[in-house]
Each structure stands twice: as C-alpha cells, then as structure tokens.
Amino acid sequence: MSITADVIPRGPKPRRVMDPGRIMLYSILFVAAVYYLLPLYVMVMTSMKGLPEIRLGQIFAPPVELTFAPWTKAWDTACTGLYCEGLKVGFWNSVKITIPSVIVSILIASVNGYALANWKFKGSEVFFTILIFGSFIPYQVMLYPLVIITRELGIFGSLTGVIFVHTIFGMPILTLLFRNYFASLPEELFKAARVDGAGFWGVFLKILVPMSTPIFMVAVILQVTGIWNDFLFGVVFAGTQNFPMTVQLNNIVNTTQGVKEYNVNMAATILTGAVPLIIYFLSGKYFVRGIAAGAVKG
C-alpha cells in the first residue's frame, strides 16, 4: 500500500448543494488554515517593514512603506557573532554540506536496500533490525563517541566530517525506503535478469535503477529538506568556518549585542526556510511519501 495511491480522492464528486454540516466543515478547515498560514504571513510582512513601523506593535498590519533593505542586509551584511558577512556564507555552506551528503547517503543506502531486498545473506535481517532501532536512539547518546571517531579519522570540524555524519544518520530511513521499494517490485523481473546472466551490479544498474526514478526522487527530497534543516550536526561537526544556514540564522537572531532588528531577522528566517519550502511546494506528493515512509508500511 503506497500513500500516494491512497491520497487521491475516491468516490463520487462532492455534492453541489451546501448543507449546514458542510458549511461547518469548511469553516473549521478555513480557520485552521488561517492559523497555519499566519506565521508565514507575519514573517513576510515583518521582513518588509522598517524598524520604526515595527515598533508600533502591529504584527499583522501590512507595511505602509515597503522596503527590501532588511532582505539585502540579512543576505549580505547581517552579523553572526564575529563576522558581518550575512547569511550568504551560511547558504553556500549549506549547499556544500547538502549536495555531497545527499548524493553519498543515497548511493550507499540504495545499494544497501537492494542487497537487503534481493540478495539476503545470513545476518542481513539482524543488521537491518538494529539499523531501524538505531534510528530511534537520541543523537545525544552517540554524539561524544562520534566526535572522538571523527577526530581520529581527521575529519572533525570539516565538511567531510559533517557529510560523514549525515550519511550515517540518513542510512536507516533511506535503507528502509529503498528496501521496501525494491521488495515491492515483481520478483520475475529480478529472476529474468538473473537468467540472462546479469550479476549483482548488472541487475541493479540496468534493471532496477532505471525504473526507480520516483523512489530516488522521494529520497532526494527527504534528504535535502532533512539535511538543510539540520542544526545539531552542523554546529558540532562542521567547524566554525562551515556553519550551515540554520546555525548562522540562530546566531544572527540570538546575538545579544546591539539593537534587535526584527525585520532583518524575519528576512533571514524566510531565506533559511526558502529552500525546503520551495521543494515542499513543488513536490508535495513525494515529500508526503518520504516522511510517511517510516510509519506506514510500504
């Protein structure tokens, strides 16, 4: 049972006539939608006001004098502790962390999921079970030993270090995703390829990968949003010069010195949230499939 198949509306078309129950139903949904959208609205409005206007204390009012200065300041010159180079540094750091992490983690997990689905070996299920259990362990439990391991490997406080950690912690959910997907494909396909003489890599690269674009999409979306939104691993393993955007945003907003520039803060917040939001709005269906992969059995 896959989620996407099920979220397509079923049954007859909605009735045209509105009975009181339907009106009630839509009202509740509408009020809820307003509540969910309000913070986004407040963010956008605040980011386009000047500080004097903000001091009037009207967070819902649209800007009287529209300004984009907070946006350029957030991107270019906002101060994060010692440096005043804006969020752009964090943006590029996040790009440098996210792209390799996504590629490496998906490469490893897809091959691994394939091995678990089609080439079971003695003990493979045991390792898989530990892997799934591992995804529940709080990161704090493994943090210190991982610092020691990455330091011994000479990658602590570097891009490689944080990519390494993302690959490890992306493995459970991605492996589950790929294993379930490959296991759901008809077995005849696999057998036919085997009869034709394809080996481990042949079946994977020539038969399975070409027909698995949707699941790779799901995995990419899951990983890009997850890694972009990460804070803890970035702050511990990336090193000061590689801090991702989330860490920088937190530093900009929560620096104690100077005047609080709420408009700059909100512009910075939108900029940080923009990448996952755009991905979400463009790919709703795949996003839903990815986040539900762990909870709803494939």
Binding site: Y26, R55, M142, G284, V288
Partner: protein
C-alpha cells in the same frame, strides 16, 4: 561469482555483503558501539575528557540531585504529554475532516503540512517574534483596545514551556495529520457503508470502529512522534535558549551544554543514558506490535 567447487560460505553472495559494509559498520560501530561507550563511560568520573576511573552510579546520583536536570525532565514531560495529546487530537480531526470528500483537499493538506518542511530553528525564531511581549501578538491585540490582554508566555518562567508547545504543535501537527489520513484511507469503504446502513452516527463509527481499526498506524505514529519529542533541542535553542534562567531547559540541551560548553562529560553521558533508556521504554509498544504479532501469526 567465479566460485568453483563447493562455495565458501564467506564469499557466497559476496557483492551483497560488500554493499552492506557501510550498514554493518554503522550498526556495529555507531548504533551499538557508540551507545555502549556512552553507557559505560556514564559510570566514570570523566570531567573535561573521558577517563577510565569508574565510580559506579555517582554521576547519576549527582544528576538526579541537580535542579537543572529536574527542571529539564519536568519540562520534557509536560511538553511530551501536551504535544502528543494536541497533535494527535488535532491531527486526527483535521485528517477526518479532509477525508470527507471535500473540495480543495490538496490545498488544505499542503497548508497544514508546510510547517513540517521548515526547520525547528526557523519555527523557533518565528514564534519567538510572534510571542514577543513588547511588539508581537500581545501588543497588537492591546492596541486594538483590549488594554489588559495578556499573552506573555515566553518571558514568564512558569509558562515558557507552553510557548515552546505552541511552536512545536504548529510545526508537527501536519505530520500526524498525514499519517492519520493514510490510516483513514486504508480503511475499507464497505465499513462506512455498513455503519450507515445500521444507522450508526458518523462520530460513533469513528470512535468505535475506525480508530480501533487504525491501531497499527496509531501505535507506530505515537512511537515515532514520542521518540522525536525526547530529542527536542533545536526548537529550544532557537526560541528561548533554555531561558528565562533555566525555565525551559530540556534533557537534550542539558547533555549538549555539559558535553561541550561546561566540559563535564560524565554528567552529559549519564544524562544521555537516561534519554536512551526513555526511548527504549517508548519503543516497547512498537516492538510488541512489530514482532509480537508476527510471531503469533506464524
């Protein structure tokens, strides 16, 4: 592949084993190894660096005498109970409403889920601004004429945890809704028809028939969400940084602070071992569901 004569059990299916090496290393070294290391060294007298001097339960005795830890545990308990309660009730109701063959289903679903695509840092920063007592929601409502309106959760020691709750629920309810919707869509249409024929009211069908049928999805979602709550960290850092004072301290932040800022590794490891134990307890219903049922079926 070129095995001649009797296949060697170790080289049989060799490619699959090679493909699984990252998983095997991750499970053995990180999930099992690092967790064990943390548990073992939580019994040591480690201060700034881990040392091999073992002192029994001394770290735990100290931990449970610390008021800061007490506050952290109390906070996460309050946050956990309310967050589970609200996100599941609201998430289920929203899913049930969306499941009434409504128009604009996709629009509503997209709106309810978008906060989940945002990071906890972004969520925390936005709500910190909305709940700002001087310029945010409180001031806006006051300037509308309600001079005595008080909604100052965030700077009050007794209510700050509810400020975190509002933000956390805003971010996470959509996820629960998606899981519940998947569960609802998995229920046979005939059940609804039968209930209608028998004249059972809709709400009664939900409570007496549908929810019990969704037991599997419900338990899995509960476990995933609850295990996530134990990890709560980024939101607190971005929104209150544990303040005012230590009023919004949480266990994950306690661990981080003692590990890196206060150079008291022993305390941090003892605290993270307590977190690990909590997660294991949360996992019990899931283990029962996942493995208990399966063995009974066989």
């Amino acid at each position: 592949m070129s095995a001649t004569g009797r296949p060697n059990p170790y080289t049989r299916n060799l490619n699959a084993k090679i493909a699984a090496v990252p998983m095997i290393l991750t499970t053995l070294v990180v999930f099992v190894g690092c967790s064990l290391w943390t548990v073992i060294y939580s019994f040591s007298a480690s201060r700034a660096l881990p040392v091999n001097e073992f002192v029994g339960f001394a770290q735990y005795e100290r931990l449970f005498r610390t008021s800061r830890w007490e506050q952290a545990v109390e906070n996460i308990a309050i946050y956990g109970v309310f967050s589970l309660l609200f996100s599941f009730v609201v998430g289920f109701v929203l899913a049930a409403l969306i499941d009434q063959k409504i128009r604009f289903e996709n629009t509503f679903r997209t709106i309810f889920l978008y906060p989940f695509a945002l990071s906890f840092i972004v969520t925390g920063v936005v709500w910190q601004w909305i709940l700002n007592p001087g310029l945010g929601l409180q001031e806006t409502v006051r300037s509308l004429g309600f001079e005595d309106f008080t909604f100052d959760l965030i700077s009050n020691r007794n209510t700050v945890i509810f400020a975190l709750l509002i933000a956390g629920i805003w971010q996470g309810t959509g996820f629960v809704m998606v899981l519940m919707l998947a569960g609802l869509r998995g229920i046979d249409e005939d059940i609804w028809k039968a209930a209608r024929v028998d004249g059972i009211p809709k709400w009664k069908t939900y409570v007496l028939v549908v929810i019990p049928m969704m037991r599997g999805v419900l338990i899995t979602s509960l476990v995933i969400v609850a295990a996530g709550i134990v990890k709560l960290y980024d939101l607190v850092v971005a929104m209150t940084n544990g303040g005012p004072g230590i009023a919004s301290e949480v266990p994950a932040k306690y661990v981080y602070d003692f590990m890196f800022a206060r150079a008291n590794v022993g305390q941090a490891l003892a605290a993270s071992t307590v977190m690990l134990t909590t997660v294991f307890i949360i996992l019990i219903p899931w283990i029962y569901l996942e493995y208990g049922n399966r063995s009974r079926k066989r």
